[in-house]
């Protein structure tokens, strides 16, 4: 008689280890939505708010995407998907991606896992899939929360657009996580993953903000995953399916590259 063995042990281990953390991130994300979105009716109706935004430096308004704040879709994108939600989930994605291989190797734990009956590719793939599952769970949570608040907060967002936005949001944060995974796999250090993940998220945000400032800087939009995701206002005008596919495809390529890199290297040196 042998001890019963769990299916998909590597994937399952990530989830059993981190479901508490995932709940925490989910609670933070939901709190952000419940704080911001119900304020919309009072902000959109108040001429004082519009006057206030009119007095802010236009560069600041563009950086924060507050120029679209007059519609429910624009407001939701500017405050939640494009700002606080983006910040929270990008931090989570970077930390998960950096920890999955780089952090695990740096701490010395990866060595023992790899000494067991797994391949390095299996480890990388399982951990990427677990991160993707967690990011999609947070995106689904955003969908549900915004959908629930849509009527009461008078946002008038179409369900189809909301779905597209959530998929784009998941795509851009998964891209961040995959970059962090690859950075960790390349360097064998957590910091390498954090640098790569932060580069995608922060530079993407900065390039988008700079590109918003003037026509001469608009080319920076091409370098900004943030702009690829949110630049066409998907909550009001609908998401481009190709863009969604491209985000997930690039993420898969980065993860595959991470797996190949990990397979070639000496571990823990």
């Amino acid at each position: 008689m042998n001890v019963r063995r769990a299916p998909l042990p590597l994937f399952g281990k990530v989830l059993t280890d981190s479901w508490r953390g995932l709940l925490g991130w989910g609670a933070g994300l939901a709190a952000a939505a419940f704080l911001y979105l119900p304020l919309f009716p009072s902000i959109s109706g108040a001429s004082g708010m519009r006057a206030l935004i009119g007095q802010l430096p236009p560069e600041l308004v563009k950086t924060l995407n507050y120029d679209q704040i007059g519609t429910g879709a624009g407001y939701t994108q500017a405050t939640l998907f494009g700002l606080l939600g983006f910040l929270l989930v990008s931090i989570a994605a970077t930390s998960w991606g950096a920890g999955a291989l780089g952090g695990d190797e740096e701490s010395g734990r990866l060595e023992l896992t790899l000494a067991h009956g797994v391949t390095r590719v299996q480890v990388a793939v399982a951990r990427f899939c677990a991160i993707a599952a967690k990011i999609l769970a947070l995106s689904a949570l955003l969908f549900v929360v915004v959908f629930l608040l849509n009527d009461s907060s008078k946002l008038e967002i179409e369900a189809g657009n909301l779905l597209g936005m959530c998929l784009l949001f998941g795509g851009v944060t998964l891209l961040t996580a995959s970059a962090a995974l690859l950075g960790g796999a390349l360097t064998g250090r957590r910091i390498g993953g954090i640098a790569a993940g932060a580069a995608v998220a922060v530079l993407g945000y900065v390039f988008n903000a700079l590109g918003n400032q003037s026509a001469s800087l608009e080319w920076l939009h091409n370098l900004s995953p943030y702009y690829w995701a949110f630049g066409t206002s998907p909550l009001s005008s609908g998401a481009n399916v190709t863009t969604i596919v491209v985000f997930y495809a690039i993420s898969l390529v980065l993860a595959a590259f991470a797996a190949v890199v990990l397979r070639q290297r000496d571990i823990g040196v």
């Binding site: 042998n2 001890v3 010395g108 023992l112 009956g117 000496d266």
Partner: protein, 325 residues
Amino acid sequence: MSHGALDPSSGVRGATAPGAAIDVVDLVKQFGHNRALNGVTFRVPRGTVFGVIGPNGAGKTTIMRALLDIIRPTSGQATVLGTDSRNAGPDLRRRIGYLPGELILDGRTSGRRLLQHYADISGPVAAGHVHELAERLKLDLDRPVRKLSKGNKQKLGIVQAFMHQPELLVLDEPTSGLDPLMQQEFLRLVREAHDRGQTVFLSSHVISEIQQAADQVAILRDGRIVTINSVDELRATAIRHLRLVASGIRPTDLAALLGGLDGVTTLDCTLTPTGDTEAVATLSGDIAPFVQAISTLHLRDLVLEEPDLEESVLKLYSAPAAVTQ
């Protein structure tokens, strides 16, 4: 029943297969400018217990990590259970139990859950076997791993390596952190594994920890094997400290008698307050000539200590010219 779970009498799958469990030929590992392994060659026959002794940094861990395919050799070849380590897939590693020298375990979970995870990926593990090992090592499996002492973490690492009764155990400094009682229990586990036909490859920086268990001992220094001996051979060349007190003989006469013997060094003969003569010396090699020489003496006291393998190994460590295999 699948191959990993065995009752002790049935032997381990493959244990009787011909060939070596480990066959390392001219293994070189270069880390930047540092040559960690400098042409290491040795062979561990199946079903034996093979120890590697060496000071810290000698390359013990590097050899073991190369066998597990955690690092890749710069040149040379390591064959493990008939497979080139560089082609080692999960199937090969399921047949190996590995205890890393610097054991870092996931602290967020309990010992039981951690072992279950490793059983999930490497199993199969016979039901009750983990419990039995934990019992013998007096390890509480329900405590969170991060709250375990170093010794208890080490026990968890040992259980993890032994639980699926692998054909080959690769144990890097397995006794580190264990108290003497647990060291004895660990050595019993090694002996039982040996009796079942499992092969054990283990390292230590002190020979006393593994001399009871190992059939053969390789001494490693600066990435080279200085010598491979059986423990008996090491014992034969080892140094024993001796002290004897004889009456009716002057110190100079005793010094002349003992000083002429092969292997007697650091001889010091003095007169005791009671008028006897005391001799203190170290003896290496065969003891028969010494016993013969003192048979004519009127002995009052004789102490001939256990051979000190540590001291002879340390001498090999510091030997200026390495005698490679």
